[in-house]
Symmetry: D2
Subunit: 340 residues, 4 copies
């Protein structure tokens, strides 16, 4: 009889944490060791969310790290650094969903987050947890930095072009649209129902959003030269889902079928990447409530390509991908607990 | 040449206040004397709302009451009492959109708001500003208490039955549904987009909501005996609009056409009450962004009547009705500035 | 090694059929034998819905009934009668999601559907598939009539009161609200996005909706005397979910805790009925994308009870309940394939 | 005393036609001469839309052209050509809201609409009705072709750059998002509530959408050389509003303040164009239910500019702009009837 793995969850009461608890509790090979919440320690999860199953919420300081095999951290950036340090020092493998360990260069971190990184050794060791690109490194990692939601859609959408050296020039344009859950459960006028409903709004457009350095780092590495991403996020009047529409000038004309072959080969065998046939376009409907990334390709001119990539920001863009990384780290079938 | 009237607005930066500013600035016979905001005094309205027209926001204490003919007060209950006192003492006619002067009996106020009323003389004088019922008193009033949003739909929907003594028993059932703007612009988890979108939820159902005593007072007065209202409000995943579905047992069988005649006669000449022909049902679509109340009647059995009444909670349920009252008070055509 | 069961699905391309395919394909003990579609026979399901998994669609006439253990029928009422006859004659157990076999009295069927029933023998044999009330009969049935969506919420919500003889008088009031998927995938102005968005509308209110006789039959049987249901359905601007708000006069005062005990005992051990603690209210959020029915109780007066019952109209109100019935019929754990 | 003008409306029962009727009936200097509907001739408008005001619907063939000064045509493309011919021959000035007279080159029309143009003389005479660019020609026109909704946002958003010769290269990228009313009131799966709600989908992206030739013609004329537009429309889960996010490489670095000055000067005195101050971004909330176009400018790099332009597709993108053109044609104040 197989022994169950045990995982702890830090920060269980945000949208990401709640969804992670829900995935992990149904995962056939893991059980939840603990779930923490700063604000709601001492309560139960059903006090915080409308859900019939339940779990006790404890303070992070009371987390029994010696009882778990892995810890997921759904904490705000900055707060994650000391928590990850504590987890790793306890010999527990960590999957960090914050931005704290995604940028391997501490100077880039400081530039975008306006504060020096205080655990540069762990930063150097952390693996960027996009399994489709870094599966092997994830498998052996002590610390996995789970990618941001926007970067997951953008990197998966452009990686085959970058790796194949098909991108002309040194920049691409990414026009992304996200559901409101991406803004978190904290209260702000921006996420007030009346402000977001029947509205659609760009924010932080140009070269301002903190998800940009992740995209640039991964795509530049694949391309083997620096690539700059002009990135325009927009807020959609819905809860879940990201669609990124990406505009690339190709170094030379390729046909749609050649491009589809390239994508098909690059992602052959990937259980969670779904390349649509010619003529179909990726939509939120393809991916909401799944761990999939759906990609479509459209030529706008002979060297002008439009890539659309859709994910569920809470699943493939956060908690689902975290569990996918967990499965890779612990040698489980990669889709375990993620087929919904 | 006619002189323009001048009106001041206290509390211009909530949803009700903002909508009131928007109606008043387009009103052909009034101009805005001032607009106050506690939090945003010193800013302009366009700093707070996406709007191309604009107005300066001042502190309530700086309001030049000697320059205006009337003041609208869009303040939280409790805060309205001293502000109304100041307005009335300055000889300015007041239209109060809070709950502070709606319940003529100070004991009922204390019972529902858990605090004694501190201006019982003004309370005794205040007129309940539902023009369809109290037009004459409104015309002469120094202080008008603008009705609550739910009560506007319920009282207009049931008044013809109450006045005609057609209601059997001593209670009615009211099942109401409101858009999220009714909960105000303050921040709370209840009004977070992700919580309210793709959701529908009852709240304060039974005999708990503070709008109940208004309904009971007006309907009991029309009926000339006490009527109790079982009231179930629900939150709709949309911005504006209230639909109240009301269940009444009739004292004796009436036909749908007799009932439609009764309603038609009761509201004959009313510019803002719209009784639908047999077979049609009131919906939000009939009323959103208008000052109308649309009513439909359906017999469920020979003595079982269902009345549906729809209004826009921000217009006929608040700011539009306030301007309607203003028009009555100042002898203007009642629809001025309200035909949209 | 256990042999997999096989099930066929008639009418796989409506919202109910599509959701059923999605549940059955993930069910660990069943595989899909065939899926039919009148309009899309010869296509694949991914031609009709945005989904990455797929299945061939065949004409109903080509369905290989000899290869399956059970058939689910998601056909329009009327069309289901001959299809069920064919299935049953082939020795295949049938779960019919249409209204054709829900009303055991052929005269009641004729009265509500304006056409005589043409398979009265099968009608007499059919079991009303609400497992919480009729589990044993379902287990042995050759033909199960899966309940309507509204009736599922109403019957589960009122059954404990009816069985305990707590309902005063001979009628109850049910005010229900449903997401738009309940209206099906057919095209009509009522389900046009622009008409339903930012709107909320009653329809067929009073004593007109065809789901009424199911509710009345089941509740009258539990109560052992005729009960009439005044029923007001409304269309919500969302996709999935039903909330029914029900108003009952009790024969004598009961406390909230006594009522909660009654409900708790009635549904003890039921995996899909969830009675909320005092003070909590049922919402769509509790049930969307699950097979649960969440129920809350609120006293509005000492003998006036408000029951709120929420379900997902596509799951517990249709396809999930159909699979629950299947599990009961084939002796499987009742929750198999339904834990989401 | 001023005589009222009279206008007829062809095609009053689509979303554009209905909105046009609503604007015209409130216009202080026009009255509605007639309103036609192919499907609903003989009915009244309130049979087709939930509205308390009303108007009779007649067949197009019965339109009394001799009684009106102008006709608005809200007909499908193709159908508009013979109707416009009839109107103009009757000596009535025409404002055509279809695509039939927007493309001055008949070969371009044939290329995009797959059918030869059958009224090339009128085509040559027609004025493209974007008053901000062609006010003088509109004033004297017998036939005005009202621009498409997407082109209105795109042309107003890029015109200052084109006129000033600031656009580098021969193409721009336009990523547009529109509410569902843009797809019309006809029935299709794409506009079914359940398909569009909680979804977001690109369609006809690249160089396929029929609004492209309008954009290219107007911008190329301003730029005085051919400009190609890569255009990606997307469907938003809301009713009204278009936001176009446009990516332009500048011929040389310009500062944000220089660019804002250019836009400010270009649109100085324009009542319906609203350029936001630096740092603010255009959203649907700025424009829904108004005749405004709100524009924001953001530099993404020293020569990389992002222009966001928002309009209400039914107002500035259709019926409001048609009335603006009418006002210009008849020498009225341009904002008459449009200040809402």
């Amino acid at each position: 009889m197989r022994t169950m793995l045990k995982a702890g969850i830090f920060g269980a009461t945000g949208y990401t944490g709640f969804r992670l608890v829900d995935i992990v509790r149904r995962h056939p090979e893991v059980e939840i060791g603990f779930a923490t919440s700063e604000r709601s320690a001492g309560s139960r999860l059903s006090d915080v969310f409308a859900c019939p199953w339940d779990i006790a919420l404890i303070a992070a300081g009371d987390a029994p790290l010696d009882e778990v095999d892995a810890a997921f951290l759904c904490l705000p950036h900055g707060a994650s650094i000391p928590a990850v340090q504590r987890v790793v020092e306890a010999g527990v493998r960590a999957i960090d969903l914050s931005a704290d360990f995604r940028l391997s260069d501490p100077q880039v971190y400081e530039q975008w987050y306006n504060t020096p990184h205080t655990a540069t050794d762990l930063l150097a060791e952390a693996v960027y947890g996009l399994p489709e690109l870094h599966r092997e490194a994830v498998a052996g990692a002590r610390l996995v930095a789970n990618p941001g939601c926007y970067p997951t859609s953008v990197i998966l959408g452009l990686y085959p072009l970058a790796k194949q050296n098909l991108i002309s020039g040194n920049s691409v344009i990414v026009d992304s649209k996200s559901g409101v859950s991406g803004a978190g459960r904290g209260l702000s006028l921006k996420t007030h129902f009346v402000e977001a409903h029947a509205n659609f709004s760009p924010y932080n457009i140009g070269h301002q959003h903190r998800h940009i350095p992740e995209m640039e780092a991964e795509l530049s590495a694949a391309l083997d030269r620096p690539l700059s991403v002009t990135f325009s996020p927009h807020l959609l009047p819905t809860n879940q889902g990201i669609l990124s529409t990406m505009y690339v000038t190709l170094v030379e004309p390729w046909s749609e079928s050649e491009l589809l072959s390239l994508y098909g080969e690059t992602y052959a065998g990937e259980p969670f990447v779904h390349v649509l046939p010619a003529g179909d376009l990726a939509t939120l409907r393809h991916v909401v409530n799944t761990n999939r990334c759906t990609i479509s390709l459209t030529l706008a001119g002979e060297d002008q390509l439009i890539v659309c990539a859709a994910i569920d920001n809470l699943i493939k863009g956060a908690s689902g991908q975290a569990v996918q990384n967990f499965n890779v780290m612990f040698g489980l079938e990669e889709t375990t607990g993620l087929e919904t």
